[in-house]
């Protein structure tokens, strides 16, 4: 029997405070998530008992630190069902993971005239690396369109992925629309044409079970801080056969096999791609976060978040003057909901909500091309995680209603 999801809010010290004199309703989980006491104490314990550098010393502390770091890698491997822990590269986060693929695989295997296919709903971190690679290589960058509902246009996807396509890069879940993309299907189409798939999983992996083998993807990137771990630690999963082919990205300590004055040889994967002292404490925190999530169970989390999302979407849809972006259907959604309140700029809205203790994001969400598609300059976004509850949603809805009344001011 796993840990119950009921009352998990109590596990998160940061959520126990008042903000602007009000109960805190933290609804910006698509930006970053909070750490439970179990993760916080793991970080503390590591520094108090095991801190040293990894893969270097022969003393006991060095062994403890190395074990902690490598155990975290194995936890990640099991968490995403990778074939081997050597397929798990620790990075700074999703952005670095995606840049890594563009600067290694892209640099080596993309040539003039090749095609790179991405989508209109990408976060800048899964857009600019490919845009710049295409410019450097004189390759063609193509965008899969969205339907009017804000879902991926699958007919267009099939048309855009051709025999010239070498890379298909897309998000598993949109950070603005919350829509879940059919990665397995896209991967099949990509592989049929000889292309690889690169998936930005930052908004997916915290919320439901991901199996990289079943999805049949070649690269999968995500961040620790969106799944209860500290910021500054992320993961790049890469299929080992591909990783073996790649030249190093950065050079330095830990990534070498043998160094001479005029030439060097490289360590095996994944060390080959982890030059320098890594974010050891981050990896330890990520391992702790995975333990916490698995104790509750990803399917329980998914089910719980879906019921909250369903409530949020149905209540929002009842309000007048609210425009929701993306499908208003919790079956097609994670707990990311972007919207605008008519006549109120999202920044003004976010300030008003903040005064009510409600934390939401407002702005372009690092997805300017998507904003252009939606025909807006900015939007507000509420995003849910496992520690949110009906009280948070009700507090948000009430604050939204009061904000609406406040700004209905007539001069």
């Amino acid at each position: 029997m796993g840990k119950s999801i009921i009352n998990v809010t109590e596990d998160f010290p940061i959520l126990q405070q008042k903000i602007n004199g009000e109960r805190l309703a933290y609804l910006d989980n698509a930006a970053t998530t909070q750490m439970p006491s179990s993760v916080l104490s793991k970080l503390n314990c590591f520094y108090q008992t095991s801190n040293s550098n990894v893969h270097r010393g022969v003393y006991t502390l060095a062994q403890r630190a190395t074990d902690a770091y490598e155990h975290a890698r194995i936890k990640v491997q099991n968490f995403i069902h990778a074939s081997s822990s050597s397929e798990i590269i620790f990075t700074r986060g999703t952005t670095e993971s995606l840049n890594f693929v563009a600067c290694t695989y892209g640099e080596q295997f993309i040539h003039a005239g090749d095609e790179i296919v991405i989508t209109v709903m990408e976060h800048h971190s899964n857009l600019i690396p490919w845009q710049q690679l295409a410019i450097r290589k004189k390759a063609q960058l193509k965008y899969i369109k969205l339907t009017s509902q804000g879902e991926l246009d699958l007919d267009d996807a099939q048309k855009k992925i051709t025999s010239k396509t070498k890379i298909v890069a897309l998000c598993h879940v949109s950070n603005v629309l919350g829509v879940i993309n059919p990665i397995k299907q896209i991967s099949q189409w990509a592989h049929r044409q000889g292309a690889i798939t690169v998936v930005d999983g930052a908004q997916a992996i915290p919320h439901f079970s991901v199996n990289v083998k079943d999805l049949d993807v070649d690269f999968y990137a995500f961040s620790g801080h969106k799944m209860l771990a500290p910021s500054g630690i992320g993961v790049l999963y890469g299929r080992s056969a591909i990783l073996e082919e790649l030249a190093p990205w950065q050079y330095g300590g830990e990534m070498i096999n043998h160094v001479e004055l005029y030439q060097s040889t490289w360590a095996d994967i994944p060390a080959k791609f982890e030059a320098g002292t890594p974010n050891i404490i981050g990896a330890v925190g990520l391992g702790g976060a995975i333990d916490y999530l698995q104790a509750i169970g990803l399917s329980t989390i998914q089910h719980y978040e879906k019921s909250l999302t369903n409530y949020l979407l149905s209540q929002l849809a009842k309000m007048t003057d609210i425009n929701i972006y993306g499908p208003v259907d919790s079956d097609k959604h994670t707990g990311v909901v972007s919207f605008n309140l008519k006549g109120v700029h999202p920044h003004d809205l976010a300030t008003a909500l903040d005064l009510n203790g409600v934390a939401v994001r407002a702005g372009h969400h690092c997805a300017q091309p998507l904003m252009k598609f939606l025909g807006v300059n900015a939007a507000a976004r509420a995003s849910i995680y496992l520690y949110n509850n009906i009280k948070d949603i009700d507090q948000f809805l009430k604050a939204l209603q009061e904000t609406k009344e406040f700004f209905s001011y007539e001069p």
């Binding site: 602007n20 999202p346 920044h347 003004d348 005064l355 702005g363 300017q368 700004f407 001069p411």
Partner: protein, 149 residues
Amino acid sequence: MSLKQLGSLYREVILDHAQNPHHQGELEHVSHFVTLENTSCGDIIHLQLEIDDQAVIKQVGFTGTGCTISQASASMMTDAIIGKTKIQALQMAQVFSNMMLNKECSQSELDQLQDAGILAVVVKFPARIKCATLAWWALQKSLKTDKGA
């Protein structure tokens, strides 16, 4: 609820300017033009100035999109700088900037800013300071670069 707190930021005069901005639109005669974007939120201002041979700002117009604070600030700024010389306008931009940094400003300096002086309340909402300063930064940029239309 903190409607009271909300009211301390969104004063009536601020809401008035935001809902009915002064000098919104494009000018017929443009001597200085600049576009500035708040990259963190996407707010954008296109500012046009008509400055005569005596370096006096004859007319100002602005377009773009933004929140209540940025729209009100742009509107208030246009009121304050019309009829001023370039040098005076730059001094006012400096006063506004000092005000946003919570540096001490004299009463006569604040009076020059006219309605814009009320935006001092924004200092209590640090996340919104950039919204208030966008128009003034655009003004500084257009006057300093001295670019023609």
